[in-house]
Symmetry: C2
Subunit: 104 residues, 2 copies
DNA sequence: TTGACATGCAACCATTTGGTTGCCTATTAT
DNA sequence: ATAATAGGCAACCAAATGGTTGCATGTCAA
């Protein structure tokens, strides 16, 4: 799971996932289009996403097709984010009131 | 939002959030307890979490109390993870079938 | 008021990260 | 057959990251 969080920490990688979400099965060159970085940089990002199991690839001739795997993202939602959903932000005023009590 | 993703990318920081989730309003020293790193390292992690608005702090005498703010985590769930929830992992067999079609 | 305690600040360090360039290999099209 | 196309590999680099240590400051208690 750490792999997934680390992979998601980079904006370029999140935008690659967005692109695949918009259109699945793109080649490396497709994914490079319009991006302000070298093909090799993109390759590295894709490798990190693949290691985190966020994308799966399939060779087809000289092309490599990239497919989004939404499962790990879903699991982060289920196993991590949901835990915090019940917690509510205690207003600062409320906090202060509690603190006053502590002193009595 | 990038701040939040980056803050969550580190296991130590996620576990600090977990600790606050278990018991809110802990001091720096509380949070250091049992952790295998210096107080200053923890301070830095907490600063990053605070910048990402994941925790709020309140000075109380010589102590600094740390409170979890679950809102940004919730927002990542709503604004980012939900988007991918509808996407389904296309089985590899399915993918291959699609590829065969491409060639015709 | 003086010592202990809770925290802050700054300099420093090794490793990781995100990027580059140059060249190599494999597949396709002419 | 040959050139163009798609991608892979490796070396290198600067900056960010996660950690350390040493010292300073502010607050509480004896």
């Amino acid at each position: 799971m750490d792999d997934v969080f680390k992979a998601l920490a980079d904006e370029s990688r999140r935008s690659l996932l967005d692109r695949l979400h918009a259109r699945n099965g793109q080649t490396l060159n497709d994914l490079c289009d319009g991006l302000d970085m070298s093909r090799q940089a993109v390759t590295k990002h894709l490798a990190i996403l693949e290691t985190a199991n966020l994308i799966a690839t399939l060779k087809h001739g000289r092309e490599k097709l990239h497919y989004l795997n939404p499962v790990p993202i879903h699991e982060i939602g289920e196993r991590w984010i949901k835990k915090f959903d019940r917690a509510k932000l205690v207003a600062l005023g409320e906090l202060k009131r509690q603190l006053e009590k502590r002193d009595e």
